[in-house]
């Protein structure tokens, strides 16, 4: 069976949802947008998608060109994208500008259909060349665009989470632009069932337009040393300064762990901007981080036991993770963290908050996580104490690196491209 036949067959299976754009005949060039200067796991995830598009299409004998767009000034150098460049994926620095709705008629023949949800203003990616009009299809990584993406070219979107639905403190205003961006997309891709449900229940998108792709995984670096990188035994807390990381309750739980359960392990905190947790003075610009800093400052046990390492290199991270007793993930809710899979890859067990995305990851990667209620400091402390005792025995139940290798982007690439391709041609 030829590739075209397969395509036709797929197109007939998937319902035609949107007649809003000119029909996509053949995709030769896809632009992949990362509209926010994400770092860490989110950046890795976006690059993985670019790789999967490129490698997957290649494996299916499609000569697909992939252009990776990143925000102007967000990264210190293009070295960050060297892995993409090596593969043959081109990169473009992009400035996001706003255009008014009335300017649409001057923007070519691809003005959006009336059936799309309208906004007064739109976000337009500008690259100083042709504003990505040379690409047949756009794929937006995350919906974080306000005003919404200008629907000038058919586009799909990868949505990681609707965290604002669960942690209202995160956003100061309603995110209408995000929802419109998702609603005007030809299709929406999610990586967990929870986000898939949110896309339908919160963003209000027709479920036929929503696809869940299997979660892929990028193995961490292997440790470069057999010497423990911290002077005392510890467990690792991968976090950042966002309130959904549940710092206050976690710190309370740590106090209980040390005082009531006689916890002995240090906790090593890694993640971006964590230096803000070490500044309880008024010079700390954010009330939230100031409050957390003060909490740590006022607690002798936390001051002694909490070791804030901040943002570390991938190698240091691998070393810290590999030598940790276990990994602790007390976040309230998100789309799941790869840190627990990375830990398992390096033979380290994890204790985690109980929320749908982590349940899904636990099942998919066979992680044998120990769960706690993230809203209950007592329960968190209790599980920390249990894990302190069980960590070593739990290691035996962890999946092997060989088992986890099957989920890498390289292995998932072909399936990913097939899913995307079917969706694109279903437009």
């Amino acid at each position: 069976m030829t590739a075209q036949n397969t395509l036709r067959e797929c197109s007939s299976v998937i319902p035609v949802i949107s007649q809003d754009y000119p029909k996509v005949q053949k995709v030769k060039k896809i632009a992949l947008f990362l509209p926010i200067g994400y770092r860490g796991g989110s950046l890795r995830g976006a690059k993985n998608i670019a790789k999967m598009l490129f490698l997957g299409s290649k494996a299916c004998d499609h000569s697909l060109e992939v252009v990776f767009s990143f925000c102007e000034g967000a990264y210190p150098s293009v070295e960050v994208f060297s892995d993409l460049l090596e593969l043959g994926i081109s990169i473009r620095e992009t400035k996001w500008t706003k255009i008014a709705k009335r300017d649409f008629p001057f923007m070519g023949n691809s003005s959006p259909s009336k059936s799309l949800e309208e906004a007064k203003e739109y976000s337009l990616p500008t690259d100083g060349i042709a504003n990505f009009s040379d690409c047949d299809f756009w794929l937006l990584i995350s919906d974080r665009l306000d005003p919404p993406l200008a629907p000038l070219v058919p586009y799909g979107i990868v949505v990681y989470d609707y965290i604002q639905r669960y942690v209202p403190e995160l956003f100061s205003k309603l995110e209408k632009g995000y929802l419109t961006t998702a609603r005007n997309a030809s299709f929406v891709i999610t990586t967990t069932p929870q986000t898939q449900n949110d896309t339908i229940q919160y963003a209000g998108i027709d479920p036929r337009k929503v696809t869940m792709i299997p979660m892929d995984f990028c193995p961490p670096l292997l440790p470069s040393t057999s010497v423990r990188p911290h002077h005392r035994p510890y467990f690792l807390w991968v976090t950042n300064t966002s309130p959904h990381k549940n710092h206050l309750r976690s710190l309370q739980a740590l106090e209980i762990f040390y005082k009531q359960y006689d916890g002995v392990l240090d906790v090593v905190m890694v993640g971006i901007f964590l230096d803000l947790f070490q500044n309880p003075t008024d010079k700390n610009p954010y009330p939230y981080t100031r409050e957390i800093s003060k909490y740590i400052e006022q607690s002798p046990v936390l001051k002694e036991k909490c070791q804030i390492k901040g943002e570390v290199t991938d190698q240091t991270y691998a070393n810290l993770l590999a030598h940790a007793e276990f990994l602790w993930h007390p976040t309230l809710v998100d789309n799941g963290t790869f840190a627990v899979v990375e830990a398992a890859y390096l033979g380290v067990a994890s204790v985690s908050s109980d929320y749908p995305a982590m349940r899904y990851m636990n099942e998919r990667f066979d992680l044998d996580l120990l769960f706690f209620d993230a809203f209950d400091s007592q329960d968190i402390a209790r599980k920390l104490a249990s894990m302190s005792k069980e960590a070593k025995t739990r290691r035996a139940a962890l999946p092997s690196p060989h088992h986890l290798d099957q989920f890498t982007a390289e292995r998932s690439a072909q399936d990913f491209w097939t899913t995307i391709r079917e969706r694109i041609y279903a437009i």
Binding site: P168, Q194, N197, D198, I200, Q201, D206
Partner: protein, 526 residues
């Protein structure tokens, strides 16, 4: 032949609505076979409303119903009131449409000007001032928009939002004026005069032996000479005095107390209200309170009228509702409704309806238990500041959706599409309508453990599953979660309860009313 029955409806202007509890009950009676030879007395401001209501909601031959009114001309103050409301509503919702229309108008003026003035100088002279003033106005309009845009950029969105809200904020004082003491006094004066005229008309009708008054808020009916039967759904103030503070509630309470002093026969819908509200308040105490329980409400025919398959019918109704009523809704206009999973509470927002606890319970369900559903209500949260503030401060306005003042078929569709109906009320005068409304279209309910519910539902094993303590958010969360996750089981378990109600259709209820009317004692001459 059955003698004529008079029904008195003294609702305030704009309040005679089919979704209001008392009116719903009255319509159910009217639609029964038993209610024949009906005369409905309404004040002049309700003349059009009652005709509309009967046309839309009553299936019986309209010739069987006579409307008794002082005429259709309404008081000038109501006329001014209505016009102000209409104008401000237009201003607040149609700004952009108005601007577009004005643009088109300007375009046409230009065309006419160019066509005529190019031929005749006289037209140039005559039309020039019109053209200039039209253009000037358009420029000022545009300039003000640009200025707003500039202000927004410079000083943030707050200013723009405030200016944008001006027409809307003009509407708010209107709502407040309504509750102003002097306005209410003025309305009382107008009402008193109108009711006097109406009662005169009523007293001329010797062919009507008994008058049924379905609410306790019109003490003016004491002057009706014929037999009077007054329905007292409840005196909720007695049970929750702290929820009903303020001048308005005091005013309403006094009206009910005055009504209870009238020499009449009283009807209520539950033992609880009889025992705890009426016998305490009726002066002098009399054994004239009869309990007539509600019949069951079946909404299924609204769906059957549209399509054979109830889900197809409900989806079609919601599709049409979205296109016609939600096309300006910032969130729902583009929402794919067929996939929406939600729990449903159909009720007006009143202090004792316990919306705030429901909202808190819903928040726990969504954010701590990760039950991926929405909460749809038919009340308007803006009617209760604390509730409204809570929803906004917790950023729940995309998940708690108010579909206010919906038609019956939309109500049926929402009930059918809901996973589970919820009724967290602290008090009801009779067994909550919401149960049979939901069950009749295939949806189970969880509700408050309150006396009127326990009067009807005696099976404790069922009660322990479907009833929650309305004061306990945790209990509410647990019962709703169970209901959502075990919808089909709950539906089966509630069959017996529903069937108990289903036997009691509105013909039976209406017969009890008619029997009561026929055997009512003659009043003491007032």
């Amino acid at each position: 032949m059955q003698s004529k029955i008079g029904i008195f409806l003294g609702h305030a202007p704009g309040h005679l609505k089919g979704n209001e509890g008392i009116v719903k009950l009255f319509l159910s009676l009217l639609n029964s076979k038993q209610f024949q030879n009906i005369v409905i007395a309404v004040p002049n401001w309700s003349f059009k409303e009652i005709h509309l209501l009967l046309k839309e909601k009553v299936n019986v031959n309209p010739e069987n119903i006579e409307i008794l009114s002082t005429g259709s001309r309404i008081h000038y103050s109501f006329f001014i009131w209505n016009q102000c409301k209409k104008l401000l509503k237009k201003l607040s919702t149609r700004r952009s449409t108005a601007k577009k229309s004005y643009g088109k108008y300007l375009d046409s003026i230009c065309k006419v000007f160019l066509k005529l003035s190019s031929r005749y100088f006289l037209f140039f002279i005559l039309l020039l001032p019109i053209l200039i003033s039209t253009i000037l106005f358009y420029f000022i309009w545009n300039f003000s928009e640009k200025l707003l845009f500039f202000l927004k950029k410079k000083y943030g969105s707050r200013i723009k939002d405030k200016i944008k809200k001006i027409p809307r904020s003009l509407l708010q004082p209107l709502a407040k004026i309504k509750n102003n003491f002097f306005v209410r006094r003025f309305y009382s004066e107008v009402k008193e005069r109108e009711f006097k005229r109406l009662v005169k008309l009523i007293n001329r009708r010797k062919d009507i032996k008994v008058w049924y008054i379905p609410a306790a808020c019109w003490p003016e009916i004491s002057k009706i000479k014929a037999k009077k039967i007054i329905a007292i759904p409840d005196v909720v103030f007695v049970e929750f005095p702290f929820l009903f503070s303020g001048v308005i509630n005091e005013f309403n309470y006094q009206k009910i107390k005055s009504t209870l002093r009238i020499d009449a026969q009283f009807i209520c819908f539950s033992e609880h209200v009889k025992k705890h509200h009426l016998t305490k308040l009726i002066e002098p105490p009399r054994e004239k309170v009869t309990i007539v329980r509600h019949g069951y409400t079946d909404l299924s025919f609204h769906l059957k009228q549209v399509k054979e398959n109830p889900t197809d019918a409900a989806l079609q109704i919601m599709d049409s509702f979205q296109k016609t009523q939600l096309h300006n809704h910032p969130y729902l206009k583009g929402f794919y409704l067929p996939s929406m999973r939600f729990i449903f509470y159909s009720s007006q927002v009143r202090p004792h309806k316990n919306f705030l606890n429901l909202v808190k319970a819903y928040e726990v369900l969504l954010r701590k238990r990760f039950v991926n559903i929405k909460l749809v209500i038919t009340g308007n949260p803006a009617h209760q500041t604390e509730l409204n503030n809570y929803i906004h401060s917790r950023r729940l306005q995309y998940d708690i959706l108010s579909l206010y003042d919906v038609a019956d078929e939309v109500l049926a569709a929402l009930n059918h599409l809901a996973i589970c109906a919820v009724n967290p009320t602290l008090f009801e005068g009779g067994f909550p309508f919401t149960f049979s409304e939901a069950y009749s279209v295939g949806t189970p309910s969880v509700m408050s453990r309150i006396p009127v519910v326990l009067e009807e539902s005696e099976d404790e094993s069922l009660n322990s599953i479907m009833l929650f303590d309305p004061y306990s958010v945790d209990d509410m969360v647990n019962k709703i979660e169970w209901g959502v996750k075990n919808r089909d089981d709950l539906y089966q378990l509630q069959r017996g309860l529903y069937e108990k109600f289903a036997v009691r259709n509105w013909d039976i209820v209406a017969k009890e009313y008619v029997d009561l009317f026929e055997h009512a004692e003659a009043p003491v001459v007032v």
